[in-house]
Amino acid sequence: MNKKEINSTNYRWQCRRGMLELDLLLNNFVDLGVETLTTEQRQAFELLLSYPDQTLLDLLLGNAVSSDPEIFDVVRLIRSTSFN
């Protein structure tokens, strides 16, 4: 998935959330990590974006762990880009 394809998705707007922490983690991931996702991982990312903000925050800050292995995997990838 190249930059142009990413821009034609609604990822960037779906990553505008009610909390700064989510904005930073998710937008950073769209810039740095989305390009390399497999189709299955992209589907898991889209499912993750449909979660309520508070649930997302708990998952992405490591306060909760998803029992869905694909969501777990995408959360791990997002957290791995968080220092940038």
Binding site: S8, W13, L61, G62, N63
Partner: protein
């Protein structure tokens, strides 16, 4: 995108609400339940509004934990505002607070409970019993996710009441007629760029704050002062914009808040020389001095070259001496945030911190019915026909110079409801839509379409935005004096003048976030001008506006509200010191 204005879709509603946070959704619910035809426009999905981030809770004198009454709450709010709050609005809010909490309970908000089944209330700073006596416990909370619980409950109630939502639509400008009536707004769908004119007999702005003005902020990216910018372009001044609340310890360069609890547990600040800096600024209270004292101390250290890091642009908050067990037990959230964003475990290394912009006390001037009010000739507060505002984008003014913790959720709910009640009355007397002149619509359509053309403008949105945020942080944050502010005014004016040269790379109509960001920047620019001009002019220290060259509060000259508009620059109006039914609280030194 549509160019022929006859082809532009038009929709008609009794009320248009712009913004779907707690204030907007409380108002829309009241209106929908009164069987009015109400539309809510939100640039993000409603439950992603910034209300979701409010953790602390909501104040109401329920007296479930300590003796309490609304009059004590009123005293604390007036004192907290540093006597700039309007006492009629404050009385109204404090009296309405218990009812607002019970209503939310009925809407399904799961407030935390005491063993006796009553709503639990926690103590916050600035809360007292008996007009400045013992600590009160006044804040109702749904664990640490009160805003989330309120927003989701209100959204569900609105779905039940059949409120019409325009999700992911961006409101560009208000539409007015020659007589000054506000007749709705022009919006576009972020998904496909389609323009819609929403004609409404009444319009309520509930778009939240403008923390994105500053480089370091706790606010989400959506907080770009959209309603404030729209109001200014419609000729309405912004009130008290120099009062912006900062929290001393945000993660440097990122903004996320490190709660005072970290210093309460024994954490302390050190500068680039390894010196425990607060010993010099507050020898007694040290790191537990009030927020503004700690914020300014950090800013002074950085300004004088004693900051940390390669750019010497922050100080360090040291917690590692507390030990891993204490940090894990008492500050688990902070530990997790630092590990996630910095790769730093505070149990092992200090946290880089800098003051972070948190809350916009100023905003669109309203009375306690939520009507937007402007000065007309000798009348300081003449309602603008058909226009209302509520929540952080409004200045009613209950927070005055400084907001108390737990009063912001209360503000949005009480005045969201009050505005809706006034709208219901207004609509009984104003039953028909007024005609919108095509020329008014055409002007906004052309503004939107400007970005359809490939241009060779020399400025980028991201470039100007970053420059603006940096200038605001350096010149209008916690360290203010004449020289710094005047330089800031010149710099912001110069950045604003470059807005006309902005171009965007993306001319598509599908999820064109570049276009949205350009309009957000236009709003931020308006708010920045109002903020820095008002701060430059106010030659005193009051509440969050603290100047090193005018260190005292000056009630004789400055106990008045600032108003800044594009048309008239600065103007002032008196504070409403007369409450609705009780004696005024006269200004006294604000000592805690």
């Amino acid at each position: 995108m549509n160019t022929d204005i006859n082809a532009v879709e038009r929709r008609q509603f009794d009320t248009l609400i712009i913004g779907a946070g707690g204030g907007g959704l409380r108002a829309s619910l009241q209106l929908a339940e009164a069987e009015l035809n109400v539309a809510v426009v939100s640039k993000v999905f409603p439950t992603r509004s910034h209300t979701v981030a409010a953790q602390g809770g909501m104040n109401a004198a329920l007296a479930n934990v300590s003796p309490d009454n609304w009059h004590w709450h009123m005293f604390d709010t007036v004192k907290g505002s540093d006597y700039l709050g309007d006492q009629d609005a404050i009385e109204y809010m404090c009296r309405a607070a218990p009812k607002a909490v019970y209503e939310l309970e009925h809407f399904g908000v799961p407030f935390s409970r005491l063993d006796n089944g009553k709503i639990y209330q926690r103590a916050f700073g600035g809360q007292s019993q008996n007009f400045g006596g013992d600590q009160a416990a006044r804040t109702c909370a749904a664990a640490d996710r009160t805003g989330h619980a309120i927003l989701h409950s209100l959204y569900q109630q609105n779905i039940r009441a059949r409120t019409h939502f325009f999700d992911e639509y961006f409101a560009v400008d208000l539409l007015k007629d020659d007589e000054g009536h506000v007749l709705g707004a022009l919006v576009f769908n972020i998904h496909d760029g389609k323009i819609v004119v929403i004609e409404a007999k009444t319009t309520l702005l509930a778009t939240g704050g403008a923390g994105q003005l500053f480089k370091t902020t706790t606010n989400a990216l959506i907080n770009t002062g959209d309603g404030m910018g729209m109001a200014m372009r419609a000729g309405i001044p912004l009130q008290d914009m120099e009062f912006f609340q900062f929290h001393p310890t945000g993660i440097a360069g990122r903004g996320m808040l490190i709660t005072e609890g970290a210093r309460g547990e024994g954490g302390y600040l050190v500068n680039g020389d390894g010196e425990r800096l607060m010993e010099r600024y507050a020898p007694k209270a040290k790191d537990l001095a009030s927020r503004d004292v700690v914020s300014r101390a950090i800013a002074v250290e950085v300004r004088e070259g004693r900051g940390c890091g390669p750019n010497k642009d922050h100080v360090m908050l040291k917690l590692d001496h507390l030990g891993e067990d204490v940090i894990q037990k008492r500050l688990p959230g902070i530990r997790q945030t630092c590990i996630t964003f910095l790769g730093i475990d505070p149990a092992e290394a200090p946290i880089p911190v800098f003051p972070t912009a948190h809350y916009t006390m100023g905003g669109i001037p309203t009375n306690r019915y939520g009507q937007v009010v402007v000065p007309v000739k000798d009348t300081p507060e003449e309602p603008v026909a058909g226009l209302y505002a509520a929540g952080e984008c409004a200045c009613v003014s209950v927070h005055g110079g400084n907001r108390l913790g737990g009063n912001s959720l209360l503000d949005i709910l009480v005045f969201g409801r009050a505005a809706a009640n006034h709208i219901i009355k207004y609509l009984k007397e104003n039953k028909y839509h007024r005609i919108i002149d095509d020329a008014v619509i055409k002007k906004v359509v052309e503004k939107v379409n400007r970005f359809d053309r490939v241009t060779t403008g020399s400025e980028t949105v991201a470039g100007l935005r970053n420059e603006l945020k940096q200038v605001m942080e350096e010149h209008c944050s916690v360290f203010r004096n004449k020289e710094i502010l005047q330089q800031g005014v010149a710099k912001v004016e110069s950045i604003a003048a470059r807005m006309k040269d902005v171009s965007i790379d993306d001319q598509s109509h599908t999820f064109n976030t570049a276009r949205v960001e350009a309009f957000e920047l236009e709003n931020l620019m308006a708010v920045a001008l109002a903020t820095i001009h008002s701060a430059n002019a106010r030659e005193e220290s009051r509440g969050a506006h603290s100047r090193t060259d005018f260190t005292e509060r000056d009630d004789k000259s400055w106990m008045r509200h600032s108003l800044y508009s594009f048309e008239n620059g600065l103007d002032y109006k008196p504070v409403r010191t007369k409450p609705m039914s009780v004696e005024s609280f006269p200004p006294k030194p604000r000592v805690y």
